[in-house]
């Protein structure tokens, strides 16, 4: 429901996290249309991920994590559908059977006294060391956002880090015909 001071009827409903994927024609300005709809109508974007997924047909998938009441997210879904280059909108909150993953790259500020322990934590989380020309320690970790959160909180206790994250993406795990 809207946030007007005409107190609306359903403001006390719980706000939930929703992961929405939007399949779009990969044409100029399409991301701005989608993102602009969110900012213009006062909805939130917690994370955003975009990449072309079907090269031949020039289709891109935009994955957005947002939060709101069911009513608000329903409006978001319907608003997205009004955008001309949008093919389909999928709200993974509706589907139990979805697989979600995120990638993070972590730079570790290693020192002699935390080296061993840091490697151990990376090992536990199956983070993979990425070789690079400068020989610095950069790890890649993939998995659910919670798993990455938990990795960060563990490693940060013993080692200074710098981190970038892709934001989650998701796919339905249902059997395809």
């Amino acid at each position: 429901m809207n946030k007007s001071v005409y107190s609306s009827q359903t403001t006390d409903k719980p706000s939930k996290r929703h992961l929405i994927t939007v399949l779009v024609d990969n044409e100029p300005g399409v991301l701005a249309r989608v993102v602009g709809m969110f900012s213009g109508r006062g909805y939130n974007i917690d994370s955003l991920n975009v990449a072309e997924v079907v090269t031949n047909d020039h289709l891109s998938c935009i994955t957005i994590v947002t939060h709101g009441t069911d009513e608000v997210v329903d409006l978001i879904r319907k608003q997205l559908n009004t955008i001309v280059p949008v093919h389909s909108v999928n709200d993974f909150q509706d589907q139990e059977s979805a697989v979600e993953a995120e990638v993070a790259l972590v730079y570790l500020y290693l020192e002699e006294n935390n080296k061993k322990e840091s490697y151990k934590i990376c090992d536990i989380y199956r983070a993979r060391k990425i070789e690079n020309e400068n020989n610095t320690t950069i790890f890649e970790i993939a998995g659910t956002s919670e798993r990455i959160d938990s990795f960060i909180s563990d490693i940060e206790k013993i080692c200074k880090i710098e981190i970038v994250r892709s934001g989650p993406i998701a796919i339905s795990s249902l059997l395809r015909e």
Binding site: Q9, T10, K78
Partner: protein, 587 residues
Amino acid sequence: MEKLSGSEIVIKSLIDQGVDTVFGYPGGAVLPIYDSLFKQNSIKHFLVRQEAGAIHAAEGYAKSSSKIGVVLVTSGPGATNIVTGLTDAIMDSVPIVCITGQVPQHLIGSDAFQECDTTGITRPCTKHNYLVKDVNQLSEVFHEAFKIAKNGKPGPVLIDIPKDVQFALGHYKKPETITIQNHRLFQPKIINNDNKVEEATKLISESRKPIFYIGGGCINSGNDASDLVREFVKLTGAPATMTLMGLGVCAASNSQSLGMLGMHGMYEANLAMHECDVMINIGARFDDRVTGRLDAFSPNSKKIHIDIEASNINKNVKVDIPIVGDVKQIVTKLISSWKKNNYSIDKSYSNSWWEKINKWKKIDCLSFENNSDIIKPQLAIKKLFEQTKNKDTFITTEVGQHQMWAAQYYKFEKPNRWITSGGLGTMGFGMPAAIGAQIANPEALVIDIAGDGSILMNIQEMSTAVQYRLPIKIFILNNEYMGMVRQWQELLHGGRYSESYMDSLPDFVKLAESFKGIGLRAKKPEELDNVIKEMINSDKPVIADIWVDKEENCFPMIQSGSAHNEMVLNNKMKQDSKSKEKGKILV
């Protein structure tokens, strides 16, 4: 196949889309298109005096003719000047195609002269927009743009064409050779519409206090749609109220019509909305001007909502039976379901409902105290209506008190005759809209009911009207105030009239004459009839300056923050201070 230049493709696309009228203003980045325009005879171009006038004229043209309005302007300031009109058109669902010139591609992004990010600026105020970089895509883009403008919920579409693309040679494709992918056009996605229709008719047949709440969607769905809505309203015997945009769908003279609802709507319409047990919303969107305080909006009713736009469902008000689709299609289904099931609303219930409504009607919420020395604005509209009701008349308005008085006192019998800026509330809309309506309906009488504030916002278009011999009539209710602002300041801000008095207004009679139009004036009630008569009978553009009571307020009124059953009928009834404080925050 022969190659054409981009600008020739533009003209060919327009012709193949059935366009014969374009509103525009030339400039550096559209010169090639203006050159191609010069070399042909199928499309007539109307030169406005400022780009805002072009797009409002296109809106007036579209609203009065059910065609698509076409606008042609240059890059930079040409494009930014139409942003208000685009927003107006998207708010009121007016089908418009705008062509803007753009600097050549190699200059894009260099802050070139008259460059602006047109597609970026207009993205939120168009249904869709394009920057065409390849001349071979130009015709496809045009044909898709015309389809999108009219398809589903109509709206504005913009095509930005860099100057080098206008010169480049390419191939033209005819509309019938183009395929538009399904997802790019509107399709009702609700599958079990038919079940919903059955549910809806059953609910209506079991109702005791039903009401139709009719909006502009019925008008956008075409003339047949209004006829069907009238038929269904008649079948059920239920009362019907219309939004500002829906005026004319049901004839004002029809006994079931309660007139307009909302902030300045009829007392009986608003109270009936508050008390009803079943609400049938056809093509309206629960706008805040209509609902008033949402948590007290029609608290005991089941709501049916027919809208072509799924995103309007449950946006402001939660409804019980949503039906997504075109009014014409859905109401046809409602009628056949009603007839098939032999439904009717129980006579005893409907009698007591009408008894109640008739009691509210007796309040006579549009009554006003007449005065023998000063012209009451309400009287001016009433007299105007009396003298024009039997003619083929189109009314446009600006925005403010005069607009509400026009909506209340001018009685519309047919759809498409009332052309006003509802959603955006754009002052300066009325005169260019009248120009567009006059061009679409050369034989008709087109009157812009205006205020002294609004008319000055696009007064330059008087020159356009004179140039093309368009005999539009500007009927100014002149109170030397921004009347609606003054009214709100009186009611909500302790009578502190901050910047709402119009010092040094022009002499509107001389102003009209300086444009080579006709200027008339009425200062006293007894002069009114003659001035109106003279205005109507003139075959030239006329400005009639009607001096009205300066401090008259527009009533009835639901003050912001109040509910339908808390209407204020006159100056003596004041809102309580608590809801006044709350209402101050709102617009």
